[in-house]
């Protein structure tokens, strides 16, 4: 008799069919899955494309592209792993893992989202080639003045009948020619391909397209309509009324509460480094969950809370009343 058999000595055993149990469970769960699938199907809201973005929100598209040139968008100043913008990475005290990770997905937002595609397109557009030449030949200070003035002008931009935009006149240099060319490129659908292929025939990496669209307002607005934003517990939601990743409720919860929803924060944790703080907390909690068997107090709660009496109520009752069919442990 080994330790296993000694453990069960004196324990009442009953017949059991493990294969039958699994088969019944499989049939029952499959029936449930089929029922839910036939009744509710599954979510599949179409993704946003740069083509659709430029068509439906041309001012937002041009404003974002201008921001990429000015270096004022989220991507342009993101820091690691996309670029080396100083002091952009999230830190907590001496902890700076984002910086330690380094720049491994390099993204030059101005060049890759705007200037590169325009340069490709300028081979068949002399006016654009001249504008690009004027822009690249200007000082950084002059470029900044053009972009700043144009960004202010975009606040009063109007969409014309052809889907282009008109901006009140001002000293914008070559920027309007560049932006209208990029807008036409995007509205034709060509920019999707130019950002996506990155010079390769096969490509399944959507980093640049997504970062560019993420810098704009339309995608965020669409996400807000589908209650997917961070302050809407978005990470655990799904489009429509479908259940999302509800198992991420605790992760999402922390973003809604102090100090992670506060600029002032506490002990250096605030909205600015909420991602790092929440990941650290969830890592700690997951470790604690795994180590519960060794943590006094946490491991004792099941003894103090009488849920186990409910779970084993039937077998305890049978034991007390001397239920029939009791069989001794099988010798092996």
């Amino acid at each position: 008799m080994d330790a296993h058999d000694r453990y069960y000595q004196g324990v009442r055993m009953v017949p059991y069919d493990i294969v039958k149990e699994l088969t019944i469970a499989l049939v029952a769960v499959l029936a449930l899955v089929l029922g839910l699938s036939f009744a509710f199907a599954s979510p599949d809201d179409p993704p946003l494309t740069i083509h659709a973005w430029a068509k439906s929100a041309p001012v937002d598209f041009v404003t974002t592209a201008t921001g990429e040139l000015a270096g004022s968008t989220t991507t342009a100043g993101y820091g690691a792993p996309y670029n080396d913008t100083a002091d952009a990475a999230q830190t907590w005290g001496p902890l700076a893992p984002q910086t330690w990770g380094g720049v491994h997905q390099p993204v030059d937002a101005a060049q890759e989202f705007v200037l590169g595609p325009l340069s490709t397109s300028s081979t068949s557009d002399p006016a654009l080639a001249t504008a690009l030449s004027q822009y690249s030949g200007a000082t950084q200070d002059q470029q900044g003045k053009w972009l700043d003035a144009y960004t202010k002008g975009l606040d009063k931009a109007q969409v014309d009948g052809s889907g282009g935009i008109t901006v009140p006149s001002g000293d914008y240099g070559p920027v309007p020619v560049m932006s209208s060319s990029l807008l036409r490129l995007a509205q034709s659908g060509a920019l999707d391909g130019m950002l996506q292929d990155a010079g390769h025939f096969y490509n399944t990496d959507y980093t640049r397209s997504l970062l560019f669209m993420g810098d704009g307002s339309l995608l965020e607005s669409m996400a807000g309509d589908q209650h997917l934003l961070g302050n809407q517990w978005g990470m655990m939601n799904e489009t429509g009324s479908f259940p999302g990743q509800s198992w991420l409720w605790l992760y999402t919860f922390w973003y809604q509460v102090w100090p992670f929803n506060s600029d002032a924060g506490f002990l250096g944790l605030n909205a600015g480094n909420a991602d790092l703080g929440v990941v650290l907390i969830m890592g700690l909690l997951t470790t604690l969950l795994a180590l519960i068997p060794f943590i006094p107090g946490l491991r004792d709660i099941p003894r103090w809370v009488p849920v186990h009496r409910l779970i084993w109520r039937q077998s305890a009752k049978q034991r007390r009343t001397g239920a029939p069919g009791a069989a001794p442990v099988r010798a092996s």
Binding site: V14, A41, P46, G102, D205, Q245, I292, S332
Partner: protein, 209 residues
Amino acid sequence: MSARADANVDRSWTGALARWTDRKLPADRLFPDRQPAYVGSWVYVFGVCTIAALMIVVASGVILSFFGPQWWHVSPQGRFFNSLHFWSVQLFFAFMVLHLWGQYFMASWRDGRAPTWMVGVTIFAISIVTAFTGYVAQQNLDSQWIALNAKDAINSTGAGAFFNVLNFGQMYGLHVMMLPIFVITLVAVHVLMVRIKGVVKPIDFEETH
């Protein structure tokens, strides 16, 4: 003379593994025909339901991956199998969480079963990552936005240097290959650990039984 009884084979690693298996997991423990009477509670059902849901998740996922990423958007059959995958994942997590809470309130780590609990928590954590890679690989509006949101959390840890949630190819590869292998392997280990040690006795067993 059987090979097992041969002195040369007995000293081999294979022989040692065979003897360990015979001792720890004989056939009647792997496929038991009896179990302790106290296992007759509905709470024990959640574990096997989790495994059943996982089997449907894997089967529907294999079919989806066979026909490729466009199929589940453009054909009624693809959409249907996408729905099977979606709902089986929802049920997998529902049953797994119920199983986890059930095991917690039964303090199932008692009597030398802490490793079984720890493997279970590891399965839960890896399953969350597996599901997340699936959500960002859906190729719809939801996957676009949650990938953009989640990148900030991943990047803040430095993991964004090699785990790029905006890279569909990487997420899809991890979702259909590496992460499921981890989950399935650990579930197999978890079940074998339960079979080797047996189901833990109720709390206060001596008093109530």
